[in-house]
Symmetry: C2
Subunit: 210 residues, 2 copies
DNA sequence: TTTTTATGTTACCGACAAGTAAAATAGTTT
DNA sequence: AAACTATTTTACTTGTCGGTAACATAAAAA
């Protein structure tokens, strides 16, 4: 009978993740890319496997099934979007508008990633009831954050809006829509589009000079 | 050998469409509804047939295949959107901004229909190359129209925009995004949302009083 | 009545893709 | 060496669904 294993502290250093985790992550990254590019249903797991130079059953070693893969992709994307809200600097330092604009820029940046696009583009109708419920929870939280920023801006007078709820929807909707066509127009790249979008949303179409 | 049939003028009156056309249209309407609600891939033709109280092969009497159905739905939706541009009153009567806002409101209204949502929500990646090409042509035309309105507004000073191209994308994208929500939030109905969206786009978030 | 045309149904096929079982391989431990 | 563990493959099953063939029915035409 072997004695108790001696703990090797550097073996558990967080940056040294197990190979399994790395591979699982690679599967997820590949899935996110192809899901977001070609759509969930049009993507077969054989394709995902091929990208990784493995065969389909290998994927099942890392994920229970296709839906679990999609759920992980969407969740990761939503987690990134939610983290955008946590990077919000302490309220009071800047106006609500400034904080909102900074938030929207970070939000748009996440939407440029494969995970972000998965979260935004793929309908959660693909998911099981349980997964969808979790996804909806995070989406609600993100929406709440945007509304909060809008409300703060209204309070401090830096934002004019009659309805934070609809405004929050409109902002998210407008930014999410970027992901839908930006691959059609490869010439204008992400950040520029996002900046123009945000400028439009901030300033509006109507001229401000008189 | 029968003599030449005597033409019966009232038989060809345009409002008296053949039963076949009516049924074909019913198929299309049912397809548009369920495609836009549940998505193309998640919809089986058996479902569509069931809605109409027929069996699947009957659908094939009216359409060549599933993709032809989808194409007809999308095309009809896009035709409606394109018609929105034709309803534009003579230029010169009003400012570019007024014309654009009126356009956007009609556009949003179309997007409340099943066909409009099909056109906007379902990726044209589902279509064959030939169909997609046609669809893209109409989409380009719609985009051109929006750009034209924006440009006119810029010229007459009623619209402030640095880039009509991105602005047109942003406008369409924002309105299209309405279709993604509105079933989740049944309490706020279409036109109200659209009006708020448009108001935001026109006035912007930044307050105009000083 | 017979024939033709339009419309619909039953019963089926075939393909594709998700998912699984079980064997193969390689690395590690005993 | 032997045994065990982790990982991946080959080969297979299975369900779903788009699509079709062939027949049924009924109305209109001849």
């Amino acid at each position: 009978m072997p004695g108790p294993a001696i703990a090797s502290p550097w073996k558990k250093a967080p940056e040294r993740r197990s190979e399994r985790d790395l591979k699982r992550e690679a599967v997820l990254t590949a899935a996110a890319r192809v899901f977001s590019e070609r759509g969930y249903h049009r993507t077969s797991l054989d394709e995902v496997a091929q990208i990784l130079n493995v065969t389909k059953p290998t994927l099942y070693y890392y994920f229970k099934n296709k839906e679990a893969m999609l759920f992980a992709c969407i969740q990761h994307g939503l987690d990134m979007l939610e983290a955008v809200g946590d990077a919000d600097p302490a309220p009071g330092e800047r106006t609500g508008m400034e904080r909102l604009v900074a938030y929207l820029k970070r939000y748009a940046k996440v939407n440029e990633t494969d995970f972000g696009r998965c979260a935004v583009r793929i309908s959660d109708a693909e998911l099981s009831d349980a997964s969808r419920k979790k996804v909806r929870r995070i989406k609600t939280e993100i929406d709440r954050k945007i509304r909060e920023l809008v409300s703060n801006g209204i309070e401090d007078g830096s934002i004019a809006s009659s309805d934070p709820k609809i405004t929050a929807f409109a902002l998210a909707g407008a930014l999410n829509s970027i992901g839908h066509w930006h691959q059609r127009d490869a010439d204008m790249v992400g950040q520029k589009i996002a900046d123009e979008y945000i400028a439009l949303l901030v300033k509006g179409l109507a001229p401000r000079t008189r």
